[in-house]
């Protein structure tokens, strides 16, 4: 019989937190962070940046070019384009963020349970995830929004649903690599509950990978939201969304191409920034990838 004094402690063998690796973030990652921060600040302080209500129509001034009064001009209803872009950032960022938070929580839980319990539970859960993953995210999101209606909540749910399998897979893989480590065995020996072992001991070890996945999928979520809005399944008018602005601008692209250009550029900038952050975090956390590159 092994005496308690010879058992490994719950911290033995557990990977040390890898947040220190963030110091190795490259310039691109920092650039992405700056862009996202600026966009978030613009969204938060939109009422201070512009005095226009994004929904106020001024039909006499419709499709006006940029001017001192309307820095980016007006749209087909005479609404100020800059204010619609700034307020539109709120919806893109909110939907992108909330959808990923929801997907992260649900997906990670599913993946952790599958990886930890294993056997039939693992097979069933992951096959369900594979089925969801088989659908392109836009098509799945489109079907769900069409079914449930295009409200903020439903769009968040639809986009989150498409992202859940990605988080489930990465969480499962992380748990499988951790579950036989000494510190987990020590937790078992100490009589900790499975829930405690998963949430208090294994989760911190796999969280960095999950966060990298979150930053990459947030870009996908932003793109999906914009795509849904472009095909008419976004938030109802007159809510300013970037995808909706591209859609409306497209109708006037031959006379006022900037109406579609500005929101397209905003989407590009946000998605690019999120991808830069995701790639940078991944490189910093996984040295093998960095070495390979």
């Amino acid at each position: 019989m092994t005496s308690l004094s010879t058992l490994p402690t719950p911290t033995a063998g557990r990977p040390q937190p890898r947040w220190a690796l963030l110091k190795r973030l490259n310039f691109s990652t920092w650039l992405g962070m700056v862009i996202v921060t600026v966009l978030v600040l613009c969204a938060i302080f939109a009422p201070l940046i512009t005095s226009y209500n994004p929904n106020d129509q001024n039909i006499i001034l419709y499709l006006s070019p940029p001017s001192a009064e309307n820095l980016l001009g007006t749209d087909q209803f005479g609404r100020d384009v800059l204010s619609r872009l700034l307020y539109g950032a709120r919806y893109s960022l909110t939907i992108g963020f909330l959808a990923i938070v929801v997907a992260l929580i649900i997906g990670s839980l599913i993946g952790m349970i599958a990886g930890y319990v294993g056997n039939r539970t693992d097979i069933i859960l992951m096959q369900i995830m594979d089925v969801v993953l088989a659908f392109p995210s836009l098509i799945l999101g489109l079907a769900l929004v069409a079914l449930m209606g295009a409200t903020l909540t439903n769009i968040v749910i639809a986009i989150a649903f498409t992202a859940i399998p990605a988080f489930a897979r990465i969480a499962r893989a992380g748990v499988i690599t951790q579950r036989d480590r000494e510190y987990v065995q020590a937790c078992h020996a100490m009589g900790f509950s499975d829930t405690r072992i998963l949430l208090r001991h294994i989760l911190p070890a796999i969280l960095p990978e999950i966060m990298v996945m979150a930053s990459l999928w947030m870009a996908t979520a932003v793109r999906t939201e914009a795509s849904l809005a472009f095909i008419g399944l976004g938030l109802a008018p007159p809510t300013p969304t970037w995808g909706g602005m591209v859609r409306e601008g497209f109708d006037n692209i031959l006379s006022s191409f900037h109406l579609a250009l500005y929101p397209s550029f905003a989407i590009l900038l946000l998605v690019l920034a999120l991808n830069l952050i995701g790639d940078g975090l991944r490189d910093a956390i996984d040295p093998r990838l960095k070495d390979a590159s």
Partner: protein, 521 residues
């Protein structure tokens, strides 16, 4: 902005030059017509159900009728023989006998058009289960085939214009009995008529293909093949037209579009009747719209002049009444409530809504509707009325509003230009949604039934008009519908395309395509 425009124009010019599309291509001896439609897909090609602009345009090419409006006109005075070569009526106008042309052939080899087909078609038009326009034909007591080429129509009472009901429009189209019975429900997407162009195939969401009906009784059409492409996005349609990929395109009722097209080399513009009257129908049976003060508040909040100004005087004018202004029987002063935001707010407060109301409205995604709806949304917002728009695809919208799913319906339409048709379809209780003979009475209006019915059988023309005018006054006073604007049809075409007539009007809301259409060398 000017600088930006120049850059864009330059880039476009370089692109066009590179692809050899700097100007509209020559169409010497061209026999294929390519049309760009402002529609996403086909709805229903059974002419007795075709209600969208796109479907109406197509059924007018496929089918014929006993009589027709002279091509290019919507004036009832121009009604001329089509399948019927002559007709006569009894003195009391209750029994009509039509002599049919002999040798008129159905498309796809379905043989000769006979009186049986006419009897079948008109009976179908009058049957609410098989027609969306049954109400219009309720006065028809019987339709009989006297012989293979003679049809007798007996009326229960006089109607304002029987010939109007028998034109190449809505329920007047004649279909092949044999084809309809053979094809069943498939007939809606595989139709057979005796018009100049026969249906060939559908590529869902992409195009409908036609070929000339070579046995057409007026002669073999000069155009041999027609491709009707679904190009719902206005910019995409314009680009396709400018690049020479299509020869005709539905236009946009927008001043800037008009200016741009007028400056396009080789492009001709057709602006034609009928102007479609847009009315905001308010469902009087649903709360809180059962309170007339709420309906009046909405009416006061709407500003039609602003919408007309936005669209441009070339196409749009403020509506005068709840029927189109070209209708016989128009009341030019029915007592429309003026735009008055303060009055709207006061009425809402009086009705128990001092903080305003929120209305869910299913809205079409078709650009012309979407634009009007968003302007209405902004106008109503000023009176504290939040219009929660729920955009859906246009064909789905047509179906949903016919199930009472939207308490407010913004509907643009033109009908046979005699007041009875529009009043009956939109404001008679028999046409209300949910009724056996439902048409488009979205408001469930019933306040003018007596006048509409009396006018229908009134033999004194002056009294008949007075009844129609009184009906409009009652409808406006009860705010069943709020008249907004009237907007003409606008299309652009390659100037080498000759319709074969001067296009001043088309009841089908799109260009009528006849055997005369051709490309000039």
């Amino acid at each position: 902005m000017t600088y930006n425009k120049h850059i864009f124009s330059g880039a476009l010019a370089v692109l066009m030059a590179c692809t050899g599309l700097a100007s509209l291509p020559a169409n010497a001896a061209q026999t294929e017509l390519r049309v760009g439609a402002a529609s996403a897909d086909i709805g229903n090609l059974d002419p007795h159900f075709a209600s969208s602009t796109s479907d109406r345009t197509l059924v007018a090419w496929i089918y014929g009728a006993l009589v027709r409006f002279a091509p290019g006109s919507t004036d009832p005075a121009t009604i001329e023989p089509d399948l019927a070569e002559s007709w006569e009526a009894t003195d009391n106008n209750l029994v009509w006998t039509f002599k049919l042309r002999e040798g008129v052939q159905w498309q796809h080899g379905y043989g000769e058009v006979t009186a049986d087909d006419v009897v079948f078609s008109l009976q179908k038009s009058a049957d609410p289960k098989r027609s969306a326009f049954a109400t219009d034909y309720s006065a028809i007591k019987s339709v009989e085939a006297v012989d293979a080429h003679t049809v007798k129509i007996t009326l229960a009472n006089q109607v304002p214009s029987l010939l109007g009901l028998l034109t190449n429009y809505s329920g007047g189209f004649i279909i092949s009995k044999k084809a309809y019975e053979e094809r069943g429900e498939g007939f809606t997407r595989n139709p057979v008529g005796f018009g100049p162009f026969q249906f060939e195939s559908i590529e869902p969401g992409v195009a409908v293909h036609f070929k000339s009906h070579d046995e057409y009784f007026r002669g073999k059409p000069k155009i041999e093949k027609v491709t009707y492409r679904f190009l719902n996005a206005a910019a995409g349609r314009d680009l396709a037209f400018t690049a020479g990929e299509i020869d005709v395109a539905a236009g946009s009722t927008d001043q800037r579009w008009l200016q741009r097209m007028q400056a396009t080399p080789g492009a001709a513009i057709d602006i034609f009747d009928p102007s479609e009257l847009t009315v905001l129908h308010v469902n009087r049976t649903q709360k809180p719209f059962d309170d007339i003060r709420v309906r009046q508040a909405i009416a006061h909040a709407v500003d039609p002049a602003q919408i007309a100004q936005f669209r441009g005087p070339e196409f749009t004018r403020v509506a005068k009444s709840v029927i189109p202004s070209n209708n016989l029987g128009l009341n030019p002063e029915p007592g429309i409530l003026p735009h008055d935001i303060d009055k709207a707010k006061a009425l809402l407060a009086e009705a128990g809504f001092p903080d305003g109301i929120t209305i869910k409205m299913i809205a079409s995604q078709m650009p012309s509707y979407a634009t009007t709806d968003q302007i209405l949304q902004a106008q109503l917002a000023k009176a504290g009325i939040t219009l929660d728009l729920q955009p859906v695809e246009h064909a789905a919208w047509h179906q949903m509003i016919r199930k009472d799913l939207s308490p407010l319906v913004d509907y643009g339409a033109a009908r046979f230009p005699v007041a009875d048709t529009y009043l009956t379809q939109f404001f008679h209780s028999a046409s209300a949604i949910g009724q056996p003979a439902q048409v488009t009475n979205f408001s469930h209006c019933s306040v003018a039934d007596k006048q509409i019915e009396a006018a229908r059988t009134e033999t004194d023309a002056k009294k008949q008009i007075e009844l129609w005018q009184e009906a409009q006054k009652l409808i406006v006073a009860d705010v069943c519908g709020i008249p907004v604007t009237e907007t003409a049809q606008v299309w652009t075409r390659n100037e080498k395309l000759d319709w074969g007539f001067e296009l001043k009007g088309s009841m089908s809301l799109g260009p009528l395509l006849t055997e005369q259409a051709h490309f000039k060398d």
